[in-house]
């Protein structure tokens, strides 16, 4: 029997999509039954009270969590999001309802053994509710009490060999697309680079030392399956410098209808017979493709590597062999001065595992040195870039200025010059000027 009446939430149990309400009720029932005889360390009816407080919020249209919350584990300045209910007498099971961020493996590949062990810890010491996964990538353990935090941390690190994720003004948990693990478009091993940089910068992740939060994301190609260009302060997008590889026989098979375009992604509707001219050649943004006499021809010097032709004919067109990443800087959500996507900072850099990705780390650290010194309190690097100028960022990062860093040149003439670049500098004598120009 449910602890609270939830008529509004009950409506969300109908319909075809998996219902979070049914799932929470199932967990509440399993805890009440306790078939395994678990010595629950937080209230058995924690999920019931969560449904209760949520129903109350549905009724009055307001949240019932108090402002903020500062809890954590010794040694770290982040990783746990503290939270307290503003009706603790009515819902004692969620009086404390802290969230624990746990570092996830890249690409989010798991064994059932790992997930079972994690859930054993969480059943005992938490609510039994999770978020798989948080938007930044973390495994999110949803709802526990302050005394359990060190207990959970001890078990995670000693038994599962897994660490907390990031929160606060620091490097947040990096994430990557599935990369080479199961994608032929991957231009570098996104999972490996993400893992390497996560380990390299553990200190920056666990102990807030930055003006504000900072995120890394790693996309294997410009398709952006982890949305690095929109959701990371430094986004790494795989690309290549040499020509796209064309298999003319496979092109003919697409034209002949033997292979479905876009790997059958549009099979749910009749779009007619595949028309290579209309669906590939004419849609190329740089118009560098032609199809003549049954042959696909590409002027690769004009190609912007947008991925459209490769996406449409994946069996006929392959990424080149001279591969690396582009680095984008400054993406952020609207607060404070408006949303930004990443701006191209480094057009191409090699992803070299043999020297431990030193070229990439040099850029990361130079960018941090600049922002840690210049960034204002709670100023994302995208905003520092706007305030001090893109050229200041590029100079600090040691990246040469390049036409590819702008979509178009500025149209206003408010151009600053350095004194050393101007003959005679800024020190001028007005009397000298007056000798030639009377008042």
């Amino acid at each position: 029997m449910a602890k609270h009446k939830t008529p509004l939430l009950d409506q969300l149990e109908s319909g075809p999509w998996p219902s979070f309400v049914s799932d929470i009720k199932q967990e509440a029932a399993a805890r009440a039954k306790n078939e395994k005889g678990v010595q629950y360390q937080v209230a058995v009816d924690c999920p019931d009270d969560l449904l209760g407080v949520l129903e109350m919020s549905f009724t009055d249209g307001e949240t019932h969590w108090k402002h903020g919350g500062i809890v954590g584990v010794f040694g770290y300045g982040g990783g746990v999001i503290g939270r307290y209910c503003d009706q603790p007498q009515m819902f004692p099971g969620v009086a404390h309802f802290h969230t624990v961020r746990v570092a996830q493996p890249n690409g989010k590949w798991y064994s059932t053994e790992f997930l079972r062990s994690l859930m054993d810890i969480w059943d005992l010491r938490g609510s039994g509710l999770t978020n798989l996964h948080g938007a930044t990538g973390d495994i999110v353990l949803l709802g526990t009490s302050t005394p359990q935090l060190e207990e959970i941390f001890w078990e995670l690190t000693h038994n599962l060999n897994v660490d907390l994720g990031g929160s606060g003004s620091n490097l947040r948990t990096p994430a990557s697309c599935m990369g080479m693990s199961r994608c032929q478009y991957a231009c570098y091993d996104a999972q490996e680079l993400c893992y390497n940089l996560t380990q390299e910068y553990q200190d920056e992740l666990h102990r807030p030392a930055f003006p504000y939060k900072f995120k890394f994301k790693f996309d294997g190609c410009p398709n952006g399956c982890v949305a690095a260009i929109a959701r990371s302060d430094l986004g790494f997008l795989g690309t290549f410098k040499d020509p796209i590889k064309i298999n003319q026989e496979a092109v003919a098979a697409y034209v002949g209808g033997e292979i479905a375009p876009n790997a059958g992604a549009h099979a749910g509707r009749d779009w007619g017979k595949f028309d290579i001219q209309k669906e590939v050649v004419d849609l190329c943004p740089s118009k560098c493709i032609s199809y003549e006499g049954g042959k696909l021809i590409m002027d690769h010097k004009e190609c912007v590597r947008c991925m459209h032709c490769i996406n449409t004919m994946p069996q006929a067109l392959r990424i080149g062999d001279d591969r690396g990443v582009s680095i984008f800087c400054g993406a952020k959500a609207p607060i404070l001065d408006g949303p930004q996507m990443g701006s191209l900072l480094v057009p191409f850099v090699e992803v070299n595992k043999d020297d431990d990705y030193q070229a990439i780390k040099d850029i990361v650290e130079a960018v941090w040195d600049w922002w840690m010194e210049e960034g204002k309190n709670r100023e994302r690097i995208g905003e520092t870039m706007k305030r001090l100028g893109f050229a200041a960022l590029a100079e600090a990062a040691g990246v040469p200025i390049d036409a590819r860093q702008v979509q178009e040149p500025r149209h206003n003439p408010y151009i600053f010059w350095k004194a050393e670049d101007v003959e005679g500098g800024w020190e001028r004598d007005l009397a000298e000027f007056r000798k030639r120009h009377q008042r």
Binding site: G69, Y76, G77, R207, K213
Partner: protein, 105 residues
């Protein structure tokens, strides 16, 4: 809000154990909090950090950025964590009586 009593003084605190009013701070507060923040003895170095946080707060009405705390005290972040295991926010600011850190933490 909970009220705690320690060495004859009373302190009004929130769920996270932060003082509700900066004016309520006394040296006894530091003694009261230290154990829950994993600190055995308050050394001169601890005191230096606490004193600076209080001075800065009185003067500016906010807690200093981590970078400024490091610069002025001369303690690298690593040393600050050695002194205050839960860090400059949850550890040092709480002991200094400053308001609870806010934002996307």
């Amino acid at each position: 809000m909970a009220v705690v009593e320690f060495q004859g003084a009373t302190f009004e605190v929130d769920e996270d154990g932060f003082l509700q009013k900066f004016e309520d701070w006394t040296p006894a507060w530091v003694d009261f909090v230290k154990e829950s923040e994993g600190i055995k003895e308050i050394t001169e170095d601890h005191q230096k950090v606490i004193d600076f946080l209080q001075d800065y707060y009185k003067k500016n009405g906010i807690a200093p950025m981590v970078r400024i705390l490091s610069k002025v005290t001369g303690f690298k972040l690593k040393q600050i964590y050695e002194l205050f295991p839960s860090g400059p926010g949850k550890g040092a600011c709480k002991m200094a009586g400053l308001p609870k850190p806010t934002g996307c933490v």
